[in-house]
């Protein structure tokens, strides 16, 4: 954690909510993906709470088989147009678009991002992904999906060209833009850029991932590393320390912020929060019992087990098939679970407050829902409990803030902004006013000099 004490908080916008059954909740709008007015309103709500950014993910393929496991990844409005609509309805909040160099070219990316930065007056960010997802290749006339090495080499050169185009672009009307004449292993780009230099100089850069290539890209070039779920607190601290150490090698130790994803299930009281968590889990459509075991959760987001008692039996190492999900699991059954099962039981207790032999007992449903891998860390509790967790992670060197994953939209967004943000502000952990107008200003990052300034320097 840097000496500057402001946390950074973003809103991960998934129209269905990040809980796979979140869209079925009574306070969710099920068709939010195509309601631009709602998307604008949710963004404006995040802005009223002074959040740093709204984050728009992306996937360049459509797989209808995800409808029960990952409905948000089936379809969505295209990120740039959505981001522009958000920019038109807000004034301060940053807007992150996901763009994949694997299926694009640097000149297009440079002008698209510069355009978004212009219309938002300096609030754009680029989440650079390279597409772990093989299905996209089939939509882009490719014979084969590129391996990680090729994708990152391509992305690194692409980023270099994009920034060179921005650095040579005209900063003032009438100024001649500078051509770049790039000739590299993958790209040949003359330039100059046709649109003006982005108000932020370089659009803020996000990336994610745990591969060595992703960590190096983060260390060398990113402003925000958005981290996926990790099994233990020790893993999270190790990831955070690794990013810092790598960034230090490029003289950027304090310039890269690590923001893990976090799903807060929050309500005024602990009991209500637990009830909400249970309610959401009750809305899941379970996988058929004959489908057992590990499932690659397509969409580039983790893998995990299927959601049924047969899979739970595998995950916990004890046969729990054929039971009513609402029934309590006998303590002697729970005593027989595997080591991995015991870790999952502890997680159930953390989320539901239920135990093997306390006043509230673990149910078969709890085992089923603790079986698939979560998209992000989940915290269930009252506003103080959620704030405690956030504070702890940031003070213990695991995070500089969080990308908030609302379980359902819009209800979970307002629950966080109305219940948790005021607690964080009261504790002096989070801003009450924006530091400026651009995303760079919220993040405390300077505008990089242009090529012209460098040469005159």
């Amino acid at each position: 954690m840097p000496t500057e004490r402001t946390l950074h908080l973003g809103l991960m916008f998934w129209a269905t909510g990040t809980h796979a059954a979140g869209w079925r909740h009574p306070e969710a709008q099920a068709d939010a993906a195509y309601d631009i007015a709602l998307i604008q309103e949710v963004s404006a709500e995040a802005e009223r709470a002074k959040l740093d950014f709204v984050f728009l993910g992306d996937r360049l393929a459509c797989d209808p088989s995800l409808q029960h496991s990952n409905p948000a990844q089936i379809s969505r409005l295209e990120p740039y147009t959505t981001a522009t609509a958000i920019a038109a309805a807000t004034t301060h909040i940053g807007i992150v678009v996901t763009a994949n160099p694997t299926y694009s070219d640097p000149y297009s990316i440079a002008r698209h991002l510069a355009s978004l930065d212009l219309v938002s007056e300096g609030r754009a960010a680029w989440n650079l992904v390279t597409g772990a997802d093989a299905a996209a290749a089939l939509n882009f006339s490719r014979d084969a999906h590129w391996d990680t090495g090729k994708r990152y080499e391509w992305a690194e050169e692409c980023l270099q060209v994009v920034r060179a185009l921005w650095d040579g672009a005209a900063e003032l009307e009438g100024q001649e833009p500078l051509p770049i004449g790039h000739r590299g292993p993958f790209f040949s780009v003359d330039g100059p850029l046709d649109v003006a230099r982005p108000p932020q100089g370089h659009v803020v850069l996000f990336n994610a991932g745990t591969s060595d290539q992703a960590r190096e890209l983060a260390a060398r070039a990113s402003d925000i590393v958005f981290a996926g779920p990790q099994a233990t607190f020790a893993d999270r601290k190790a990831y955070y320390a690794d990013i810092r150490a790598r960034a230090a090698r490029y003289g950027r130790a304090d310039q890269v912020k690590v923001l893990p994803g976090l799903t807060p299930i929050v309500a005024p009281t602990t009991e209500e929060a637990v009830a909400l968590h249970d309610r959401l889990n009750d809305l899941y459509v379970l996988d058929p019992e004959q489908e057992v075991g590990e499932l690659i959760r397509k969409g580039g987001i983790g893998e995990g087990y299927r959601r049924n008692l047969s899979s739970a039996s595998q995950a916990f190492g004890v046969d729990v098939r054929g039971h009513d999900l609402a029934a309590e699991v006998p303590a002697d059954t729970l005593a027989q679970v595997s080591e991995e099962g015991a870790r999952r039981l502890a997680e159930i207790t953390r989320l539901t407050r239920r135990t093997a032999n306390g006043p509230q007992r673990i149910t078969y449903g709890d085992l089923v829902h603790a079986t698939p891998t979560q998209l992000s860390h989940v915290v269930v509790g009252n506003p103080e409990e959620v704030a405690d967790m956030i504070q702890e992670w940031c003070e213990d060197g695991a995070a500089d803030g969080f990308n908030i994953y609302p379980a359902y939209v819009p209800g979970s967004v307002t629950a966080f902004t109305e219940l948790v943000v005021p607690v964080l502000q009261h504790r002096g952990l989070f801003r009450k006013e924006y530091a400026g107008r651009t995303l760079r200003e919220q993040l405390g990052l300077p505008v990089p000099p242009s090529a012209r300034a460098e040469s005159e320097g």
Partner: protein, 345 residues
């Protein structure tokens, strides 16, 4: 008469505010659609407007009725990206989006987009022949009603009504389905030059240059609307209009655009004459740098709008297709599979 304004792609001091102001004034004046210029290469006249798709999304938020037609050159984008972006604009604007297909060679833009395995200067004709039908097929990969989102049953979508594409082109191999549900208009309006043999067959609206030579295009268009691209040199006096025209090098009408010169009465009459002779259905106005579009909006537009004979009978329609008198198209994938007698899914 249907009327569109092409908003300049360059020459603005403050492109964002200028574009929003111009769009608002055009909409207030009853202009049916705006064309957003786009060229992925620097131009001599100064910094360009933002990417047409971003500009369109911005204007969708700042206007309520006017159509938003984005120029996009097919040499520099992928059909999957183009299809989803224009479809998204159609959702965001509630059925006001269109796409004008650009396919002329552009060496400066080519030089910005070379990459391993891709040279935009190659395969132009083959790309042009395949691109539009492929985009339209992608828009049809979701049947209407495939997005169910029924909370009670937990059915979010109906997989039986979401389709992949089965045929591959010579240039493009795109499987689908698109990652956007079918646009409100079914197909956003596709504009292409009547004279382009590759593009014209699949377009909804055909564009011509000089209206005087539009008769052949009119015939080939069948029932499809034809609009002429016209540059109006208009001023408060005829003499000043001719002076502006002369200063611009006295361009004449040609295959790319018609040119009209005169005061507001003369320009209005010239445009009206082309409509009344049945040569074209309307105009995309391309303003010369010396003629601000406000001049046309203030001087000519009221005259055109006051003339009952020139009324766009579809002006009340709330989609861009509707304003052109175009119906919402049936889903081609469904039609094809019905024709082949196959079961869906």
């Amino acid at each position: 008469m249907i009327l569109g304004y092409e908003l300049p792609g360059t020459g603005f001091r403050d492109p964002v505010r200028s574009l929003v102001t111009a769009a608002g004034a055009a909409e207030a004046g009853g202009v049916d659609y705006l064309v957003l210029d786009d060229r992925p290469a620097a131009r001599p006249a100064g910094t360009g407007a933002p990417w047409s798709m971003v500009t369109a999304a911005l204007l969708a938020a700042k206007t309520t009725r006017v159509g938003l037609v984005t120029n996009a050159a097919i040499a520099y984008c992928e059909p999957y990206h183009l299809a989803r972006t224009v479809a998204s604009l159609d959702h965001i604007s509630h059925g006001r989006s269109g796409w004008q297909v650009i396919s002329e060679p552009d060496p400066a833009a080519d030089a910005n987009h070379r990459r391993e395995g891709v040279d935009p200067a190659v395969d132009r004709d083959a790309r042009a022949a395949e691109f539009i039908p492929l985009v339209q097929d992608l828009w049809d990969t979701w049947e209407d009603g495939a997005f169910i989102h029924d909370k009670a049953t937990g059915r979010f979508i109906d997989p039986a009504r979401i389709h992949t594409l089965t045929s591959e082109g010579q240039v493009f191999k795109v499987r689908g389905p698109l990652n956007v549900v079918r646009p409100p208009q079914g197909h956003p309006v596709v504009f292409a030059p009547a004279a382009d043999r590759q593009l014209a067959p699949a377009a909804d609206v055909l564009t011509v240059g000089d209206p005087e030579s539009a008769a052949t295009a009119r015939q080939a268009a069948g029932s499809r609307p034809v609009v002429a691209v016209v540059s109006p040199f208009v001023a408060e006096t005829e003499a000043y209009a001719h002076e502006l025209h002369a200063r611009a090098g006295a361009p004449a009408s040609d295959a790319t655009r018609g040119v009209v010169v005169g005061d507001e009465l003369q320009v209005a009459e010239r445009l009206a004459g082309w409509i009344e002779r049945g040569l074209v259905d309307g105009f995309t106005l391309r303003f010369p740098p010396s003629v601000p579009l406000e001049t046309f909006t203030d001087l000519v537009l009221p005259r055109l709008r006051a003339d009952e004979r020139l009324r766009n009978e579809f002006a009340a329609a709330d989609t861009l297709r509707g304003r052109f008198g175009l119906s919402r198209p049936a889903n081609r994938i469904v039609e094809r599979s019905a024709a082949a007698g196959t079961t869906r899914g």
